[in-house]
Symmetry: C2
Amino acid sequence: MFKDLNPILHSQLRLAVVSILITVKEAEFTYLKEKTNATAGNLSVQINKLKEAGYIEVVKSFKDNYPQTICKITPQGVQAFEEYVKDLQTYLNIKK
Amino acid sequence: MFKDLNPILHSQLRLAVVSILITVKEAEFTYLKEKTNATAGNLSVQINKLKEAGYIEVVKSFKDNYPQTICKITPQGVQAFEEYVKDLQTYLNIKK
DNA sequence: GTAAACTAGTTTATTTTATAAACCAAATGA
DNA sequence: TCATTTGGTTTATAAAATAAACTAGTTTAC
């Protein structure tokens, strides 16, 4: 009946990050922070979890002398997100 | 951009319970346990949280000599669920 | 009639998560 | 130069989910 929801994506902040990355393909840490209203610490932790899960790719470099962290979604990330959205439907089945 | 998700509903088990109660209006503890595949302990805890939030009503009685716990959704529960589903859309906006 | 197994839960303890607070290294500005 | 800001990370704390243990009673089998 109810499909298990991917716990990595069933988190408000991680879901927001993946949601953004699905549409923009690439985003800076600061951009994600602004769009999600997350604290830097929280975002840092959650980005690492997404990276460890293989859902995003993180590239660190420097831009205008400042450190810069760029995140991109991976094919696994896209797939996991689509699966999550599909699974979620079973919980929201008011639309019949 | 991203609306905050109701933390009481953003939980797999509680969401499943509310989802069921939205469609059946009334359900026994044992029925919910079977449908959600939850352990009794976990279900007991989560039912209490939903009750404390005012999202469900819990009536205890006896049936065939055994204790029986019946849960029903409240108007606030229905409203919170609908709001949650709506808020969730902002995270899933792949459909444009 | 009494021990073993089962029903229907609750409570407590443990693990996992989420979040906040504190920190770091470097850059900028007064 | 030293206080502030940027762009983070690490560590500590709070909250949540989950499991394990327990309660209270019932049924079944001897």
